[in-house]
Symmetry: C2
Subunit: 108 residues, 2 copies
C-alpha cells in the first residue's frame, strides 16, 4: 500500500517503461522481485507500486523515497544494479523525479 | 490524498505531460483547477494527484476512477472539454490507462 499526499517532504519517482506486449508480464515480475528482495531494504525506501497498462505496452513504477539522496544512492548500489540491468534488457524507460503539488481525492 | 493498493478494482490513469519549463506551473494550475471545479464532481472520480518534475519539463497527473467507463465518459463530457483543451494548448501528453499489479510499501 502507498499513500499520495502533498507536503510529505518525500521524493516521488515515476518510471514509465515502454515494453513489447510479450514482455510486459516478465518486466512486472522483475520489478516486483527487485522491490521485495532489494529495494525495500535500502535506506529511505517508502513504497513501490507496479502498474500494467491495459494496452500491454507500458509498465509504470510509482515509487516513493524519503530523500533524493536515498534514490540516488540506490541507483549506485551494487545490490540494485542486477535488477536495473534486468529491467533495461526488457524495456526502454523514462524516469521522472518529482514532487506532489496537490492530491485531491475522496479517500481522505 | 490518495491511496494506492492492489485489488481495489479501480482504474488508474497516469498522464505524463511534456511541457516547456516556462509553462510547467501554468499547466499545474490548469490541472488543479480542472480537478477542483469539474473532475471531482463527475461520476466515478476517486482522486487526482498532480506532480511537478524537478527538471521542470514534466507534469504527471496520477488519477483514479471507479470504472474505465467513468473515465471514458469524462473524456466525452462537455464540462471537461475546455479543461482538456487548455492542458493540450500547453503540453504534449501521453495518457496510460492501467491497473495496480502490486503495491509494496512501509505505509501499510
Amino acid at each position: 500500500m502507498a499513500t499520495i499526499a502533498k507536503g510529505r517532504g518525500i521524493v516521488t519517482l515515476i518510471n514509465v517503461f515502454t515494453v513489447g506486449r510479450d514482455k510486459q508480464q516478465k518486466l512486472v515480475d522483475v520489478l516486483i522481485d527487485a522491490t521485495e528482495h532489494t529495494m525495500k531494504s535500502l535506506p529511505g525506501f517508502i513504497s513501490a507500486s507496479i502498474h500494467k497498462s491495459f494496452d500491454g505496452t507500458k509498465v509504470v513504477n510509482y515509487a516513493q523515497w524519503q530523500r533524493r539522496e536515498d534514490f540516488e544512492a540506490m541507483t549506485r548500489s551494487p545490490e540494485a544494479r542486477p535488477h536495473m540491468q534486468a529491467a533495461a534488457a526488457l524495456a526502454q524507460f523514462d524516469p521522472i523525479l518529482c514532487d506532489v503539488v496537490d492530491s485531491i481525492g475522496l479517500d481522505g
